[in-house]
Symmetry: C2
Subunit: 433 residues, 2 copies
């Protein structure tokens, strides 16, 4: 049987990893699938850039359009990064009926609606297992294995860089900057780590997971996103005293009113919960389905090889799709529970840290504002002040709406006894809502 032609758009870490893995395990794929894959063209933006592995010169082009027009290429693997050029590539490739594989979460999160409408109209399959949680087969699991489930919730640690930094801050009492620097030295954070640190990388992934679970694409503005850049080692230490660990947690949840809530933010989770022990660059995803119950996936979320493994799995799918075309893997936009819950009405427990004057009566003033807002206090920590005048005051607050909590905290922030900006973090107990 004729071999299947691949065009690689992008030859960075992941692109080179796919190329190498195909060379190393091509024979294995042939024995399992009965098909051979051949990389026939590699589009590079910067052909002179120094790369750990060189792309074979005879395959290289600097114009991805050469992949589209090459009739010997059946599948295009997009690993370029960015969104503008990839979007242009997707439009052209779909028009040319090339099957697409991508690891580009930003592209799908921002342009999923357009891309999948075009793809469905043209009956061109798109595979993107590598876009979320590298080596964890979560896309396939949501849209195939668990297709018979209503999803009550999906919680995930989806950004390895953030998780590495928080782990180091927790284990070694490092501050954020030191942990970030260490992550960069270890190769776990990029030189510009903005998207990893500010929560948006995880948010893109959460949007993709929510699209599968609930059958529609959220807007970027529908999702509550916070990063770890302002987490201090003080918060990590207080959280631990209270029995919690701070993680950058993506939460996708369907409420009983059928509205869904999607957020990514630093969150206190109980130390005893399985996600609390997911450390370093690892990712984990906990699914709660109405039939399957709880199911957890754990693995490397990024990096050359885990991502390449997912691309190889997608190539196998693409090979099947070539041999026996079917409608978009049969998973349709089903628009279940298609409404987004307003952020301010979402209910959560909270952790509140204040820097306050160290004198009697302060707690009474703060507690009285919370009482006015009908927000209960479940525990208070007030360590002995090291500074003569200031001390930390940490309160764990019972379930309250985001609006009520932030309004009360704003009022607290105006008290003369409160110094600096209050720190308000969400607490997740993984209960049904």
């Amino acid at each position: 049987m004729e071999s299947i032609g691949i065009g690689l758009a992008g030859f960075g870490t992941v692109g080179a990893g796919v190329f190498q893995a195909l060379q190393r395990n091509g024979e294995l794929l042939y024995r399992r699938l009965g098909r051979r894959f051949e990389v026939r063209r590699i589009a590079l933006r910067h052909p002179v850039k120094k790369r750990p592995i060189a792309a074979p010169e005879e395959l290289v082009t600097t114009d991805w359009r050469d992949l589209i027009t090459d009739p010997s290429i059946h599948i295009i693997v997009e690993l370029m990064g960015g969104t503008d050029e990839p979007l242009a590539l997707f439009r052209s490739a779909i028009a040319a009926k090339k099957i697409l594989i991508t690891a580009n979460k930003a592209l799908l999160a921002e342009h999923g609606v357009e891309i999948f409408q075009l793809a469905e109209a043209a009956n061109v399959p798109i595979f993107y297992e590598a876009a979320v949680a590298g080596g964890i087969p979560i896309i396939k699991s949501l849209r195939e294995a668990f297709v018979g489930n209503h999803f009550e919730s999906i919680h995930g640690i989806l950004n390895g860089t953030s998780n590495y930094i928080l782990t180091r801050m927790t284990e070694s009492a490092m501050d954020f900057q030191a942990a970030l620097q260490e992550a960069q030295i270890q190769g776990f954070a990029e030189s510009d780590p903005t998207l990893d640190i500010n929560g948006w990388d995880a948010a893109h992934k959460a949007i993709i997971l929510a699209s599968l679970a609930y059958g529609f694409w959220l807007n970027l503005t529908d999702i509550q996103v916070g990063g770890i850049e302002n987490i201090s080692s003080l918060d990590i230490q207080f959280a631990r005293e209270l029995g919690y660990t701070i993680k950058l947690l993506a939460s996708i949840r369907s409420h009983l009113d059928e509205k869904i809530e999607v957020s990514v933010r630093p969150t206190l989770i109980p130390q005893s919960h399985v996600l609390a022990s997911v450390n370093g660059v690892f990712n984990a995803i906990l699914i709660r389905g109405d039939v399957v119950g709880e199911s957890l996936f754990y693995g490397r979320g990024a990096g050359q090889d885990p991502t390449a493994s997912s691309v190889l799995g997608d190539l196998a799918e693409a090979a099947h799709a070539l041999a026996s075309p079917r409608t978009l893997s049969g998973f349709k936009p089903h628009n279940l529970r298609g409404q987004v819950k307003e952020a301010s009405s979402c209910i959560s427990s909270f952790y509140l840290r204040l820097d306050v004057d160290d004198r009697p009566g302060v707690l009474a003033q703060i507690a009285s504002i919370l009482a006015d807002a009908e927000i209960g206090i479940s525990s208070v920590i007030q360590p002995e002040g090291k500074n003569m005048h200031h001390t930390s005051l940490v309160l764990m607050l019972h379930d309250a709406s985001a609006r009520a909590a932030s309004e009360a905290v704003a009022r607290i922030g105006t008290l003369p006894c409160v110094k600096g900006k209050p720190v308000l973090l969400h607490v997740e107990h993984f209960e049904m809502k």
Copy 2:
């Protein structure tokens, strides 16, 4: 579009669960897949048996052959249990070109060779996600998501009943019989728990996983199987003192000599290892692939709903296969590393517990036999004897072949100072071999 006809063979716990889940989430499946499923016939062996849910009378037959001859049935879901009748059903159904779905691990482990040869010749797909680890999509992951990987090892806790019993013995210092009785009262063990307890249920599952990882079916005699029926609370307690937890562990491993080793047996695993914290009726599977690295799956291994969820996932696959036939999901018997390592030559660390006379010189005699066999001792525990004459002696042994270890232990067993039968358990450190 016409709805897809299902014949249910068997209406026990899982069968009834599938029926209910299809009724409850049929609309969801329709919205996601664009197809409706309809159960058109239910074959029962004992139509008068009291059941928690009654099968609709108009659908019931006592002869599964009625499912085969019914032209309105496209998919047969086999949930009968046993192997003889299911095998007869599979032969007839394949001849009649009905797509098959099963949760019957014993059937596949014992007759996989014949069944898949017939199925491939007739180009009839067979789906069996529910046969291994209920709600965990491990079959799909091995044969699709990780298809580009050589598997270095697969370790699993695959039997919920055994794991529940061992967990209770560990947490509450219960003995085996008490824990088994509790499991039966809780509904986690059947009235005849033999196959769960003696390791064979997990062994059937391990054979299925190995068939996907290495592309051939092992014989039942190729696999080393031990159960938990002789684990005493004494062993659990000593293991804990040494930093280990005892689990019924399925190990599938490819050695550097390309031979594979498959075993299911009570095994000491380090308390710090992630599998050590898989408790109660939960299952977990840890994959090590040459591209993806480590990936872990965790979820309910059995029970009505998790198993039903997997059957629904398989129904979705079957619907695709009906719409666009493809060759056996494209995963061929690839016969990689097709040789089984001889059990006696497999290397492992060991835990050895002896009941010995409480007098000087005993350890010296035992150590000398081990030294003769060139088996190193990594640690020794000899608690103060409660009995005037006897005491336990526990030794942790360095890597040795199964043959060398069992020969040495047999010699030790003949020493006059050794009372009763020595207890020899495997220790797994999850290293590459």
